[in-house]
Symmetry: C2
Subunit: 508 residues, 2 copies
């Protein structure tokens, strides 16, 4: 195959012009250009790099409605959602511009020489973070803008000083092409080497495999399925020089209904829960696929309200035919699982649509069958009824790693919440109270990450400003003269606004 | 085998009492105790944890000369070296106590709520780093104190709030036992659960394999051979839940002699180089196993002085019989390698001793044979003669990742050094000028790490205060009430001395 076309999510039919299928030659060219651009790009000063990130944001906005319409056609997501996603994409580029300017990411450290120290003098030692090298970014199907071509991985890698080669998701080639062209315009406008950004597209997994195996790629960012992420990790580990893979893969985002909150507002929680569950046809990494509730007052009201809301939730277009099929299989598996009852399903829609589904089981049945804890990507969730908080904690501790855990709680649930907190921290990257996990704020204190298999590397986040750290490594300079030292480590660079740790003391 | 004994490095003969060989039952018990201790230990406040680290230091000093004598007998290293190493071990425990108290490692971040933000309110988000969980530490043969039972990995993991299970190196069981008992006394004196520290010994690799495979272990620190490190990485990756392995493995630490420095002091450099090469029988991770020099004035003087110094360097006891054998095989391979000339070797000693060796080759021959760039652990080095700086850079870029690269340079070499710097940064974790790589300062700006295969993870260091970051992961708390939040993230904790990033602004 040498060409492929967009598929309209709503109809499953090919649409629009053809795109060239990229292969080994294009991978080689993109990686060569990225490697060539690396030394120039990483040597740019903070202002140049920040201006570049802002220029990408401006260019994306400059595409106008054509971008929103392409994304609507290809993803089936509604206009308001995609306009919001564009705002988020632009916002995170601007946030990283601000982070780059402030300079804390460089982690500058200076331990001055101590020529008279006994028994041995101490040399002058200075440390900074440098970028890892060219980064491969895999666009995600479910966020055609914010987790794709110019999404969080791209923004944070570029902020760190790494050239980026994007492997665009084949579900939205036109959207990706528009954004890639916007980035290329920003590269040119800022006078940067064109290899700072590369864009590869094609429908086969071989393309991504070739990219991860290229010796010039130094790290990988990925958001997608567990199978896909693990395949990339294996390829990256098998290289002669293994590289880090930041794969955000699989999470069912347990929601814990604590007794007093359930008692006070069971019905309202049931309705609001289904609002989160069905948002974007349930195609969020942070979709609440599991509810843990303790038997007691308010549970029936919760179940009744949730059942009613699911029953009335209209079917929605899924991102791709493949995702729709996988969703229907996942739901069918729950329908036939022992000890699991179907509480409700929404009215079914067209062949390309998915409808919500809600199940109920007991803690005992859930603990007996590992598969009930696996992600079903879409608007399906399972309520696990626990007899008491001890059983709830047992279920919690049996779970795999998660992106989020949510608590619904009242003031009189605080003691129970505090007792559960250590278990929550060990299971998840983000713990939230009295909200829903599907909103992921882009800010400094956000962690969109978590223990395996939520991600392949729980030491990081893929959303928020801390994400820049994924693409950096420390280098120490000992007794280098000022003329040879990187500019930010010279004595005369103090006062440039970046914090420094001087002899162990943090200095602004 | 149920028991094993120390081997005196100088004679190769068993000595002293027998030690029980630990196996699966002891691994299980140590990991269970560590897992049980985790929640209590990680909840200790900064002062308690700092005091504990200082108590370990005091207990180690309290062992007195018995520790030095045991280490001398088992390692064959001289008294002055081991006394210095003890000072370093105690010093790094105290440094981490200071780091824990200052609190920057927590990376506290607070993004206050914005209830009126449009189109959506922003929730309150707060972030801190939490420890990964119980850490397995593998003691190194070549630093029986500073990289072993209470070495840098143990100190940084304990500082991070992780219980530690040490797999002691079988080359120094008595030394390890003394230090382990000192740590256990500190654990008891500080009222901590005994599982905070565990100690396993035995001569077989199966012991370490079982430890890394235990589901309760969350990360691994290792210093040793490339084969050993890679085996642990494979085991860790094959687990149902993969975990990070920080393996510091293999480096030949190139020393670059730039033309003006060589011209000014070729002979002095030759003598000083051999001082670094033969220190500790060459058994340092940072031993200078490769010299890159450009043909020109001073090179002959360098070679003559180095040849003379190696010829006069007395044979030294190697750490173990196995290390001695591997060293002799490595030297023999260089002797028979095409295009490689032996410049000198030191007078040979007893069966347990190794003697220095120095080789010379051309850039062309070096580039033709990958094996010439492999580590020979011991006092052997190879001088590669380059015709010009371009050839030198080609050799440099052909190398695998390194812990260090050293420049010997004068003021008029600065332009050349600056040109080479990007290549040096990509190859190594530490770049030093006009010194020797064998001194590794324990401080804030030190990086003892570097690209593969110097380490399995170039994003970190195993020496210096930044090493604590290896054992931490971020967790985000959204809209949690003060009563449930971890203490350091509550509003009333401000002023506790730890820096905070508040709405993106670093605040002391």
């Amino acid at each position: 195959m040498t060409e492929f076309r967009s598929v309209a999510a709503a109809t499953g039919e090919p649409t629009g012009p053809a795109f060239a299928v990229h292969g080994p030659a294009e991978v080689d060219a993109a990686c060569a250009a990225a490697a060539d651009a690396f030394d120039v790009y990483r040597a740019t000063d903070r202002e140049t790099r920040a201006t570049f990130l802002e220029a990408i944001a401006t260019e994306i906005l400059g595409i106008g409605d054509e971008l929103i319409e392409a994304a609507m056609l290809e993803s089936g997501l509604p206009r308001a959602r995609l306009e919001g996603e564009r705002g988020r994409t632009v916002g995170q580029l601007r946030m990283f511009a601000d982070v780059v300017r402030k300079g804390a990411w460089q982690q500058l450290r200076i331990d001055p020489a101590m020529p008279d120290r006994q028994p041995l003098p101490r040399p002058d030692l200075r440390l900074r973070m440098i970028p890892l090298g060219p980064v491969a970014v895999f666009g995600a199907s479910n966020f055609p803008l914010a987790f794709s071509t110019a999404g969080g991985d791209t923004a944070s890698a570029l902020a760190a000083g790494c050239p980026v080669v994007v492997k665009g998701h084949p579900a939205h080639p036109r959207t990706g092409e528009l954004v890639a062209a916007a980035i290329a315009r920003a590269v040119a406008a800022c006078g940067l080497p064109s290899g700072v950004f590369g864009h590869l597209v094609g429908p086969s997994n071989d393309l991504g495999a070739a990219l991860v195996q290229d010796a010039r790629i130094a790290a990988v960012g990925f958001t997608g399925s567990r199978a896909g992420g693990l395949a990339l990790v294996r390829l990256a580990q098998a290289r002669p020089v293994p590289i880090p893979v930041y794969a955000e893969m699989s999470s069912i985002n347990p929601v814990l209904l604590l007794p007093e909150a359930l008692k006070a507002r069971g019905a309202a929680l049931g309705t609001a829960f289904v609002g989160s569950l069905t948002m974007g046809a349930g195609q969020f990494c942070t979709n609440p696929g599991l509810v843990l509730a303790i038997e007691g007052e308010g549970l029936d009201a919760f179940l009744a309200a949730a059942t009613e809301a699911v029953g009335g939730a209209p079917a929605q277009t899924m991102l791709t035919g493949g995702i729709g099929q996988a969703y229907r299989s996942g739901v069918a598996a729950l329908e036939s699982a022992p000890g699991v009852d179907k509480l409700a399903e929404g009215p079914s829609g067209g062949a390309m649509q998915g409808h919500a589904a809600l199940f109920r089981t007991t803690a005992q049945a859930f603990l007996a069958e590992k598969a009930l804890g696996h992600e079903v990507f879409g608007a399906s969730s399972i309520v696990v009824i626990c007899r008491n908080v001890r059983e709830l904690e047992t279920v919690l501790r049996s779970l795999e790693g998660q992106l989020t855990v949510t608590l619904h709680m009242d003031e009189s649930d605080q003691a129970m919440a505090a007792t559960l907190l250590p278990a929550l921290e060990i299971k998840a990257g983000r713990i939230l109270a009295n909200g829903w996990p599907t909103g992921v704020e882009v800010c400094h204190a956000m962690v969109h990450g978590g223990p395996f298999p939520a991600t392949s590397d729980p030491r990081t986040t893929s959303v928020g400003s801390l994400a820049i750290d994924r693409f950096l490594r420390p280098v120490s300079y000992q007794n280098l003269s000022s003329a040879v030292l990187p500019p930010e480590l010279r004595d005369d660079a103090r006062g440039d606004g970046a914090p420094r740790l001087i002899d162990g003391v943090l200095t602004l």
